[in-house]
Symmetry: C2
Subunit: 276 residues, 2 copies
């Protein structure tokens, strides 16, 4: 009970990261309610830091507070994907336009080229290995590299707030895709082409082209994401009608699941979302 007062907001951060991990990794499913006390016990701290962490996550859009129920993980809807990608498009396109209009520092150029080439290398490596898709670790690395490219552009635009909004947005996007299959070589190629095209346009000082390219890149990504979402949605829908036995579910989800194993098999009555 006395885990060494650390004076910094350590416990709060701990709680924050814990919950965020739970959400991002999918251990906490969308719609599942979490209570302050439960989490506090799990993490081993009191309600206060947990409460603050929850408040922050609500503000950031990961959780939603329902009056008598507690905080629940947001139900990702199709509309949300659209909104998040639109936000990215608006900001990143603006930023790349600004970057293209200013002179590119050589160090920045090098960093962009590196991030760009790394993706090409991954595609090549994948082809050489003979496998079809990136495995989980490679996928993580790809995501980091992709993120680096985009965030580098944002940073060069020199607007910290814009950077933060996009960063938050991208983090939030991950909630929708905690389980998706790895990219294949063709997709990596396409992404590389887009990135490379944007970079080329920037170095040519052609702002309009850079903006158009990047915008298209983001729109295409959104399209792909929407498709995987809809696929997932169909499976989920099916699951709602004929739920799989828990033993099978456990195999499908090799996560180290919830230890306390909620004693109450709560079924959310009336998840009244009307799909179009």
């Amino acid at each position: 009970m006395k885990p060494a007062r650390t004076r910094d907001g350590s416990l709060r951060r701990k709680a924050y990261q814990f919950i965020q991990q739970q959400v991002l990794s999918g251990r906490l499913r969308a719609g599942s309610a979490i209570s302050e006390v439960g989490l506090a016990k799990q993490i081993g701290v009191s309600r206060t830091p947990v409460r603050e962490a929850i408040g922050q996550l609500v503000a950031e859009g990961f959780l939603e507070q329902i009056p008598g129920r507690g905080a629940v993980v947001i139900q990702p809807e199709r509309e949300d994907i659209l909104e998040l990608y639109e936000l990215r498009e608006a900001l990143e396109v603006y930023a790349v336009g600004k970057v293209a209009r200013q002179r590119l520092r050589s160090a920045d150029s090098a960093a962009l080229h590196a991030a760009c080439e790394e993706i090409r290398a991954m595609a090549e490596g994948l082809r050489r290995s003979g496998r079809e898709r990136l495995d989980e670790a490679e996928m993580q690395r790809f995501l980091a590299t992709d993120l680096r490219f985009h965030m580098l552009l944002l940073r060069m635009a020199g607007n910290r707030r814009m950077m933060k909004v996009v960063a938050d947005t991208r983090l939030l996007t991950r909630v929708f895709s905690y389980r998706r299959e790895g990219h294949d070589a063709a997709l990596l190629d396409r992404i590389y082409q887009y990135h490379h095209g944007v970079l080329e346009a920037i170095e040519a000082g052609d702002a309009a082209r850079a903006m158009e390219r990047l915008g298209e890149h983001i729109r295409v990504s959104m399209q792909e994401r929407l498709e995987t979402y809809e696929r997932w949605e169909r499976e989920h829908e099916l699951n709602r009608i004929m739920p799989l036995p828990t033993s099978v579910l456990a195999q499908l989800e090799p996560q180290g699941g919830a230890p306390p194993a909620p004693p109450r098999p709560r079924v959310r009555s009336g998840a009244g979302r009307t799909a179009p």
Copy 2:
């Protein structure tokens, strides 16, 4: 001590609005440190809701937390104005493009026209009155009308997150301008022209023109804001060398608020008086 438990976060809201008011109205000067206990006593609640309110305001960018010092009101810098307006430009321009590409509902059109005309009417009224500038109440009304026009556009674009970011951004912008002189008729005219032009382009379905117009409008606004900021900055600099007597300051700042009205001294740093 027993102010009617309202079950919602009433006290927290109270604290939030109180502090926000203090900051927006300029009663709490930039850089002044505020403490949880001091505020709690002023508002008449305990530390907890105040603490949460402060947390939210920090997250929203109104306050900044400094380790050993507490929370201080942000020091608005020139760079911040640039960033905030850039953000608005990126998002609003994107939104107006989207709106122009879709069909405008007649109700929306009417609302936009109304917001547009209201500004023209204000310009006309000002001219008719023979006065030079808008007084404070009129200025408030103008700001509300201007905000309404812009937010209507955002709403029509149908992206709630985008709307929220812009709303927060505009609110934050007000920290920089809690004291500025009212617009004159010529400025109102210019603003009207921009709004009208945007609206015209939207109704013509000319997305590119609408975007260009709105972008220019925002850039011009930023320019004006920068100039007033620099003017203010010069005065502030002068103030630092030769501060005005508090009696004069009191006249410059028409306080309305606190019922208990403890003789609050100028809290610059430290302070924390246990008064009543």
